[in-house]
Each structure stands twice: as C-alpha cells, then as structure tokens.
C-alpha cells in the first residue's frame, strides 16, 4: 500500500484500531499489564487516521504541549525514532503518559476525527512510540544546553517533580530531585498498579532523566532532614515543591479502625511500592477479605478494586454514592473493572462498618441514595433515601475517597502560605509566598491527574528559568486565599 492508499484507508476507518489486551478472566488474577500495546503495523494503520489537519486542536488539549501531528506523521512513515524524539522534546515521560493520561479529556477530546466516529488513538500511539524505543536499547537523549552552574532543588520525585527536573536539566541547570521514599515515581510507583503501569517503565523513565543529568536523592524527607533555608546555604537558588497529596481521608465512620479497613493509599502502597502481591519474594504483608467493598468512584477506587480481585478477593464491590454517569474515574478504567467482574453498587453509601466480634470487619451498613439538586460541583447531589438501610456482607473495606495535603513539609517551612485545606498557595507560574520557591501538582490544586502535575512541572520549569535568568521582575505573586 502506498501513502495515498493508507491515507484513504485511514479516513475510511471511523473507529480506533482496537488495542489487543489480556482476556478479562485471565488478567483478573494476575498483575501483568492489561493492554499489550500496538504492533508496528497497527500503529501505522492508526497513525493514518490522523488527517494532519491545519488547526491541530489536539495540541492545545495537551498539558505538556506535545507536537502530536508531528509525531503521528513520523509514525505514518514508519520513522518511529523520529516519532519518539518529537514527543520527548516536550515530554520526558512518554511511556507513562501513553498509559495513564485521560486522553479522552485532553488531546483526543479535541480531535476532529471524534466528531464522526472515534478520535485518533493518540495515547496508544504515544505508548507505542515509547515502548518501541525501549525495545531498541538505550534511548536518544534530547538536546541539553551547556551547564549554567545554577542549582535547583525539586522536592518530590512524582510526575510533576520529574517533569520539572527533566526540563530544567535540558535548559542547563544543575538539578537534584529529593524524594522521601526509597524509589522514584511518586504516585506512579506507590499508587498506580503494576497491571496499569509496570514499575519497570517508571524505572526506565527515571534512568532516562538520570542520564540527562538529573540527580536523585532518595530517603530524603525534606523539611525534617533538610530545610529550604539549609538548602539555600548549600547553593540552591530555586525550589520546586511537588510533594503530592499524600494524606488519606477517612469518612469518620464507626468501625473505620477495624482490622480489614484500609485507606486506598495503604492498600495500594503495600501492593505496588512494597510489592506485597508477591509474598514469596517480598516481606511486606497485605491482606484481602473474600468480599471487599471499595468506597469511592475515582481511578484510585478502580485501581483498589482491581487490585483486591487480583489478590484473591472473590467478590469486589465499588460502593459509590452517585450514579455511574457522575463517576470521576476514566471510562476505560470503569470498563476494565466491569469486564473483570467488579460489581458496581451505585447510589449507595456506607454508614458504619460492623465488627465481626473479633475486631475485624463483619459487614458494612449502607443506605441507598437518590440524586437531588445540583451541588457546588454542578453534579446532582446524592440524598439518602429514608428507611433504605441494608447490610452489605463484606469482610474487607478500602476507603478511596481522596487525599488531603500532607502537612509534613509545610509545617517545617515557615512563611509558606497555604489555603484552608492546607494546599500551598501558588500563582499561575507556581510562585509561592517564599521567594525562589515554586510549587505545583496535587500539593497546590488538590488531588488531580498525573498529566496535570506534569503540566505544572513544565510551567514551573519555565518560570524558574525566567526567575534565575533575572527576567521575571519582582517576586510578587498574587496568591488569593
């Protein structure tokens, strides 16, 4: 087939080239990645669905500004090396983004192919390009500016911190990323499960940044072991605080302290960071009941439910107080969970977790809900239906209702202003109340997505460059309350 024929075939194809994946019944019992990824043929076929339209609406939808038509054009020609290099010009974590970005809310949402049919599978193509590169051995490094000798500290090696670090190193800065855990990745490592984002990929992307020149310092609880002031004395001239949103919320339910009740963070950290799913080789224990209720409706709830099933829970329920349409989780995650046999208990809310008499979960008292008037978020508010209480028979509960701001770094950093929820106040460039200190990601905006954190890291890198080149003017961010 020549280009003309391929183009014609691509335009005729209304739907995305399907993604090959592990069969649901099989994958529900293993931790291997669910989608296998496109083959080279599939990627080229899908790439030709892109019409290379002039307006490039997809690019405006990408928080890290990838030249999407550019990399897709390279894939159309089978020049995968060029494709990945175009992506890496603005995105240091393509294998991650290709897997966990909510493309349907971003680049793909604006794709004109989505008007009559499905948008181009931009995320799958990005993943393909990144995985292709990994198979070729050592990745090409992007262009790196000569060293300017200026030291920048990034606090937190999650997606925001890693992006900021990568961008600054490419601009010639001397960047050290300080991480409290013993490993990089933040939520990519402790939160998102292996079957959705293999940890080898996080390690690979970290190695890539290290090859670019980013220094990683693990086991560093900044605030406690080193303060910003001490780091200034060490010659650091700017800081990017990207500590994430690590303080799990509980519901203040009776029985939440029972054995068998986890926060999603604990449940996932045990399984992912500490690899408790592999007890023959790792020491950190975990426990699942035979019937597990996961309370919440976000991606973290889906991850927790699918992890519980893989760890051997026979029945896993998502208990969500609103309806399916209001669920914040990505459609793809909801579908995968449903395919794997997760049962969705919608418009239901827990009231109490019951004791089995021995200090362990013996059931969960719930109430049915109906949708009332819209609330501040614009979603119809769930209202309890009087007299509709019932007991859900479960012996394990995972609370996945979100995270607040972790106070550890903030408490140790006098003068750093926060809002009433404890999130750091920062302006649109990430500037905080302390000169030279920038912040972004979940610690600023509350729990959001990986790509939003990466976008914040990118914005901060640019702002730090402006600041350290003396082009930024006075330090007078407008911070609000």
């Amino acid at each position: 087939m020549d280009d003309k024929a391929r183009k014609l075939a691509g335009i005729k194809q209304k739907e995305k080239t399907p993604m090959p994946e592990q069969e649901a019944k099989v994958r529900a019992h293993n931790f291997k990645e669910v989608p296998y990824g496109y083959t080279a043929e599939m990627a080229i076929e899908e790439a030709w669905r892109c019409t290379q339209c002039k307006n490039q609406p997809c690019v405006a939808g990408c928080p890290v500004e990838i030249d999407i038509p550019g990399f897709i054009a390279a894939i159309q020609q089978g020049d995968f090396r060029e494709g990945i290099n175009i992506i890496k010009r603005t995105n240091a974590l393509p294998a991650v983004c290709g897997r966990v970005c909510p493309q349907e809310e971003q680049c793909e949402k604006f794709c004109i192919r989505g008007i009559k049919g499905e948008p181009v599978a931009i995320g799958r193509l990005e993943r393909f390009a990144a995985d292709w590169e990994a198979e070729q051995g050592e990745a090409d490094l992007p262009e790196i500016a000569p060293s300017n000798g200026k030291k920048v500290a990034v606090i937190g090696a999650g997606p925001g911190g890693m992006t900021c670090g990568g961008d600054l190193v490419a601009m010639g800065y001397d960047v050290t990323v300080f991480e409290a855990f013993h490993a990089s990745g933040g939520v990519l490592r402790y939160g998102i499960p292996e079957f959705r984002l293999p940890k080898d990929i996080v390690s690979r992307e970290t190695d890539y940044l290290a090859r670019m020149g980013v220094k990683f310092e693990y086991n560093m609880v900044v605030g406690n072991v080193l303060t910003i002031e001490e780091m200034r004395e060490q010659g650091f001239e700017a800081f990017f605080v990207a500590t994430g949103a690590g303080l799990p919320w509980f519901m203040n339910l009776k029985g939440e302290g029972l054995n068998g009740v986890y926060s999603a963070n604990e449940f996932l950290t045990r399984a992912n960071l500490m690899k408790a799913y592999d007890p023959k080789n790792y020491d950190t224990p975990t426990w699942v009941g035979s019937k597990t209720a996961v309370v919440g409706g976000g991606n973290v709830a889906m991850d927790s439910a699918r992890t519980a099933m893989r760890l051997g829970s026979e029945h896993v329920y998502i208990v969500y107080r609103r309806a399916l349409e209001q669920m914040p989780a990505r459609n793809e995650e909801i579908h995968h969970a449903q395919q794997e046999g997760i049962e969705f208990l919608l418009l239901q809310n827990p009231l109490e977790i019951l004791d089995n008499g021995e200090g362990w979960v013996g059931g969960m008292r719930c109430i049915r809900m109906e949708l009332g008037e819209p609330d501040a978020s614009g979603r119809r508010r769930p209202v309890p239906i009087e007299g509709s209480e019932f007991i859900l028979e479960v012996d394990g509960v995972v609370i996945a209702i979100g995270n607040g701001a972790n106070p550890l770094f903030i408490d140790a950093t006098p003068g750093l202003k926060v809002n009433k929820w404890g999130n750091i106040l920062a302006d649109d460039k990430g500037r905080t109340s302390l000169e030279g200190v920038f912040a972004g990601g979940d610690i600023v905006i509350g729990a959001a997505t990986v790509i939003e954190a990466m976008g914040a890291g990118k914005i901060a890198a640019r702002a730090i460059d402006e600041y350290l080149s003396g082009e930024a003017g006075d330090w007078s961010p407008e911070l609000g309350e």
Partner: protein
C-alpha cells in the same frame, strides 16, 4: 549563628551509606546498633523515629531513636528480634549496611518547655530504649525525673546504668522478681502517685498493654499522661494511614501527629487489635526466612 557546612545528600563524605558502625548484643535477642546516617544524626531529636529497610525485598520498619552523635554522624537504635525483618537486621554485623534509612520522622515534642518540672518516666521492656533519650533531655533541662522501668526478668532488662545516670531516682521491676521489685511498673507508679500528685506529667513507653494500664491508673489522679506509639506503618510520612489510632473519636496518625501523644483519649483496645493485623502473614514470612537460611 554561623552554621558549619552541612552535607546535602546522604552520599556525601565518601562513607559507606547507612553502615552499621557498632553493634552490641544487649540481651540475647535485643541488639543495639549505631548506624551511619550523618544527615539524620544531625537533626533527629528525642521521641522522633527512623525507618529502615534491610534490602530490596524488605519491609519498612519504624524504630525510635535511642541516641545520636552528630559529630560521628551516627544514629543509635535498639530493637528486639520479633519478626523476620528485625531478625534479619539482628544478624547483620559491623561493616554491613542497610539499604534505606529514613528520618527524622514524627513530631519532636519538647514536653516540659524547659521549665524545671517533676516528671515520672515509665518504661517497659524494649520501650526503655526510646524512654532513655527523653529522660536524658529532662535531666539536662534540670527537671526532676523519677524513672520506673520493668522487664519480664533480669536477663531481659536493658539500659539500667544509662537510665540510672539520667534519672533522679530509678525504680526497677521484674515480673518474676529476679531483680528489683517483683511485679509490674504500675505498682511502683501507684505508690508514687499515692504519695504525691505533684507531677507535671507521666510519660509511659512500652508494650501497648502497659501504656494502657498506666494511662488508666494515672487518669483519676489528674496528672497528664503521655505515651509513645509504635503502630504498624508503611511509609511513616502520613501517606498511608496504617498507623492510625482513634483519639477521642478522631483519627490521628502516629507517624505525623505523634509518635508521642496524650494518652487520655486513645482507644487502646482498638489499637491493640490493629497491632495483630499481620500476625499470620508475619509467621509465614519468618518461617520462609528461617527455611531459606537453613535454620
């Protein structure tokens, strides 16, 4: 104040990372180690803790600091071999290194505010180890500190000399009467409180049941009671909530709200139940380890 040039990474100085520079077997399964961690040693204060991980497959285990030497860059820990990870650590020797050593963690709580007070410190078993730096701090602040320490028997009692040197008065109990008063620390504590309630507070560190009994005993005397919690943790930085305890109906995290807390409102029954969560899994892990090591 002119600060001495400080290292900015754990790797500075060309020294082996987190090396065990000194090991002392205090009692047959209670071991003391000085671990090289200059950044932590420079900052850690009484009542704060560290987490360690022996190797890539290891758990993250919290231990409260016993002593630290900012000049030598070492942090002293004392632990009893109760599970696989502590057993594995206990079998390591001077010159070996642990893979990860994280700290300081937890809040530093200057309980006395530096005034010359009267304090009772109660330590049980391995809990005497984290009590020691607190007692030393009170002592150097000029407080009067009456210490009551106990163990099951004489051969399990640790840090007697150190506690004696730092206390205004040291009382010793053993369950079996092999040394000191035969009976529990609470019996001596009750005598003291019956004689006088003129104390700023009681600080109790030991097994959960001991802290609960002390708390229940002290409450009616109207003397404030502090305890130090060592609940099961994963990250130690507030991220997971594994270490949570109910305090007056509110959820508190031992790692970032503690580990030291007022004891009055702690739900010790729930806390003690939560400490048993992984008993079965830990047993399997220990058996696997022993089989692998040919023991």
């Amino acid at each position: 104040m002119c600060l001495r040039r400080i290292p900015v990474t754990h790797n500075s100085g060309g020294l082996s990372l987190f090396e065990i520079v000194k090991k002392v077997v205090l009692r047959h399964d209670i071991k003391q180690m000085d671990i090289l961690a200059p950044l932590v040693a420079r900052k850690i204060k009484p009542g704060q803790f560290i987490m360690f991980r022996v190797d890539e497959s290891g758990e993250r285990i919290p231990l409260t600091m016993v002593n630290h030497d900012p000049e030598k860059g070492t942090v002293r820990i004392i632990f009893q071999e109760v599970g696989k990870s502590t057993r594995q650590l206990g079998e390591m020797n001077e010159g070996d290194s642990v893979l990860d050593f994280i700290g300081p963690l937890g809040k530093y709580h200057k309980m006395t505010g530096g005034k010359h007070g009267r304090i009772i410190g109660v330590g049980g078993g391995i809990g005497i180890a984290p009590l020691l730096p607190k007692v030393r701090e009170f002592h150097s602040d000029g407080d009067e500190i009456i210490s009551i320490i106990g163990a099951r028997s004489k051969d399990l009692l640790i840090l007697e000399d150190e506690m004696k040197a730092a206390s205004s008065e040291l009382n010793i109990c053993t369950d079996d009467g092999s040394y000191g008063h035969k009976g529990f620390v609470t019996e001596i504590l009750k005598q003291k409180l019956d004689e006088s309630t003129n104390y700023d507070f009681v600080l109790a560190i030991g097994p959960p049941i001991m802290m609960k009994v002390v708390r229940d005993l002290v409450k009616p005397y109207g003397v404030p009671c502090y305890v130090s919690l060592n609940t099961i943790m994963v990250d130690g930085t507030g991220m997971c909530g594994s270490c949570r305890v109910s305090v007056g109906g509110e959820v508190k995290f031992a790692c970032i709200d503690g580990p030291e807390m007022r004891g009055e409102e702690i739900d010790f029954v729930e806390m003690m139940s939560r400490q048993t969560r992984y008993v079965a899994e830990e047993k399997v892990s220990m058996e696997r380890y022993l089989a692998k090591e040919g023991k």
